[in-house]
């Protein structure tokens, strides 16, 4: 719907436009700039064409971290979305416990990312960490700094702990917005709990779940701080996700050109996959 054109509105959003320009558009342009040039410092630049793009796309190192990234993202989506829905379904809809549950759920979201990483790092240490020590004490050979499987286990567990609440809160918001009449009608129609979930709750939660999937997808694809603090990408490169790899190339090796090209490819992958998710989930929507 087109609203009345009011030229003054532009004045009001101008500060935000300027901010966005400094925050997003200018850095992005810089990245584009770097991605097609070669620099050796001293502010000297040489045209490189698509060389960096070709190099990145052909590099096994990029393939590996992309695959690791995909495994990570799809794993946490496969765990967090159903788990979040299940927890939301189990939460009370009325009474004093509602606010208690909501606060409990919100807690992990309030903790800064680097603290989460540090927390879990200590928590999982096999010698002094509560989890690491307990696991070893009951007979598991657990050491996330040495064993690839343990590192992944800890990484996934950390992300699930940190972010499932977001899915819970969104799903819960979707659930409480369903009018009572729907549940009453379903009880009268003799619907089982499963049928109620399948034909009332799930369809009514579809929109918020789409948002949840998109948010979790984008966030997990961009994840950096937590795994970096937890494992530093190791052992070896086993938990080196795309963003960690990118930072290693850009800041560790100062290969600005390849890093810039990789950033752009990275950006395009996120854009493309988000679009795919969105279209898939919004199919059949009036």
């Amino acid at each position: 719907m087109r609203k009345t054109v009011n030229q003054r509105a532009w004045l009001f959003i101008l500060p935000v436009l300027v901010l966005v320009a400094f925050n997003a558009i200018l850095p992005l342009m810089t990245v584009v700039n770097y991605s097609v040039q070669e620099t050796f410092g001293n502010n000297e630049f040489f045209w490189a064409g698509l060389i960096w793009f070709e190099q990145v796309i052909g590099s096994p190192r990029f393939h590996d971290s992309l695959i690791r990234q995909l495994i990570f993202t799809f794993s946490i989506l496969a765990i967090e979305i159903p788990l979040g829905v299940i927890i939301a379904l189990a939460m009370p809809r009325k009474g004093v416990w509602v606010s208690v549950c909501l606060v409990l759920m919100a807690l992990p979201l309030l903790i800064p990312w680097n603290v989460v990483g540090a927390m879990w790092n200590i928590f999982a240490l096999p010698d002094i960490g509560l989890m690491g020590y307990t696991l070893n004490a009951i007979g598991f050979d657990f050491n996330f700094t040495r064993q690839i499987g343990d590192a992944w286990f800890t990484l996934l567990l950390m992300d699930v702990w940190h972010w499932t609440s977001l899915v819970v809160l969104l799903a819960y918001a979707g659930l409480v917005s369903i009018p009572d009449a729907y549940y009453q009608a379903a009880r009268i129609d003799g619907a089982s709990s499963w049928a109620i979930f399948r034909y009332i709750q799930l369809p009514k939660m579809k929109r918020v779940l789409t948002i949840a999937v998109l948010l979790r997808f984008m966030d997990s694809f961009n994840i950096y701080t937590e795994p970096f603090v937890l494992t530093g990408g190791g052992p070896g490169n086993s938990t080196t996700l795309l963003s960690i790899d990118l930072v290693k190339i850009a800041l560790g090796q100062f290969d600005l050109g390849p890093a810039a090209a990789m950033s752009l490819i990275y950006f395009l992958i996120i854009l493309l996959l988000s679009w795919v998710f969105y279209t898939l989930m919004m199919r059949n929507e009036e």
Partner: protein, 361 residues
């Protein structure tokens, strides 16, 4: 101070919401927009208010083109179907809010709020919050807020739809009095023909984004221009059936026939659509020219004072409305009488060509 719509049209994503519309609303007039859900009433109001900009055409107010002028600068007020008040303000503060925004001095605000509260019978509730009021009182508060600022145009979008039947009746009764001494242009949207009738003023019948007729309410009701306007402005829905004119006679089906009268005798022979309002189809012969008809009863509804009989007449769904209690079994054959002196005739294009007796109420 008239509000004029000049060929105003509205499309959204290529879909027509309002066809080009010309409408002139006189100062001090009460105008009803009558039509079903999605007939375009709300869109038309939003265009009048300046909440929406027309795709084409112009809106003039007081001899000035205000097409692009935003709603804030237009001195309009609006009342919605939902009771919209500031929940954390008292009734007094709610009514006073538009005056405060206009920076009117305190004494004057107080005088006008008290006067409006008196008119709206809200004086005892001025200190309460909207949530402590009944639905009717909440809507009175919303109306008081709309009226207190002396807006040039007051738009009411089905304001009574969410009220209980009796509260609706009460407010419907009071509304004309509230607008009687004001110089504002009132526009009132409703789906109910009865409301339009009781308010008097002017009525515009709307159908699928088109104003099919606009004029004094009684005229629109008694002299509908076409079949659609007649149907929109009829409750219960108007009965209709194909009839043929032959010589000086009308024929419905194979056996029902009656003489044309002064207003229809000049019509050319051929087929017409007959329209008869349900209360002109009665169980006892009534009116100036009752014609006996026989139909199969679908269902009879008895309200204690009136009987509504739904029946099938030659494949048409008809309704008869009579006073008193008359029960029928489902499927029974029953005799009715339609007073053709109150009938309307429409040509193939749907235009009114003859209203027998000149007055089809």
């Amino acid at each position: 101070m008239a509000l004029e719509l000049k060929s105003v049209a509205k499309q959204v994503d290529g879909e027509v919401h309002i066809h080009p519309t010309d409408l002139t609303l006189a100062p001090g007039s009460f105008n009803v927009l009558l039509g079903t859900t999605l007939s375009g009433k709300t869109t038309l109001m939003q265009l009048m208010a300046g909440l929406e900009r027309p795709t084409s055409g112009q809106i003039w107010f007081n001899g000035r083109d205000v097409t692009g002028v935003s709603v804030q600068k237009r001195n309009v007020s609006m009342v919605y179907q939902q009771f919209i008040n500031y929940p954390n303000l008292s009734v007094y503060a709610n009514i006073a809010s538009p005056l405060k925004l206009a920076r009117i001095d305190k004494a004057e605000i107080n005088r006008r709020v008290q006067e409006m509260a008196e008119l709206m019978r809200l004086t005892p509730m001025l200190d309460r919050r909207p949530s402590e009021l009944s639905g009717g009182q909440q809507q009175r508060t919303a109306m008081a807020r709309a009226l207190v600022k002396d807006a040039d145009v007051v738009l009411l979008d089905e304001p009574l739809a969410n009220l209980d039947f009796k509260l609706r009746e009460e407010l419907r009764d009071e509304l004309p009095r509230l607008f009687a001494d004001r110089n504002c242009i009132a526009v009132y949207a409703t789906t109910e023909p009865m409301e339009a009738l009781l308010f008097g003023g002017n009525t515009a019948t709307l159908h699928e984004g088109r104003v099919t007729q606009f004029g004094p309410t009684m005229e629109s009701y008694q002299q509908p221009k076409d079949l659609i306007s007649a149907q929109v402005f009829s409750e219960p829905p108007m009965n209709s059936a194909k009839v043929t004119k032959q010589g000086g006679e009308f024929l419905l089906g194979s056996s029902i026939r009656w003489q044309a009268d002064a207003s229809t005798t000049g019509l050319a022979d051929g087929s017409y659509m007959l329209g008869v309002r349900p209360h002109r189809v009665t169980i006892r012969p009534d009116g100036a020219q009752p014609v006996a008809i026989r139909g199969h009863v679908r269902i009879a509804e008895l309200s204690g004072s009136e009987s509504t009989v739904h029946f099938d007449l030659n494949g048409n769904d008809w309704v008869s409305l009579s006073t008193g209690v008359h029960d029928f079994d489902i499927g029974a054959e029953a005799d009715f009488h339609m007073d053709v002196s109150r009938a309307m005739y429409f040509d193939d294009a749907g235009h009114l060509v003859g209203a027998a007796g000149g007055r089809a109420d």
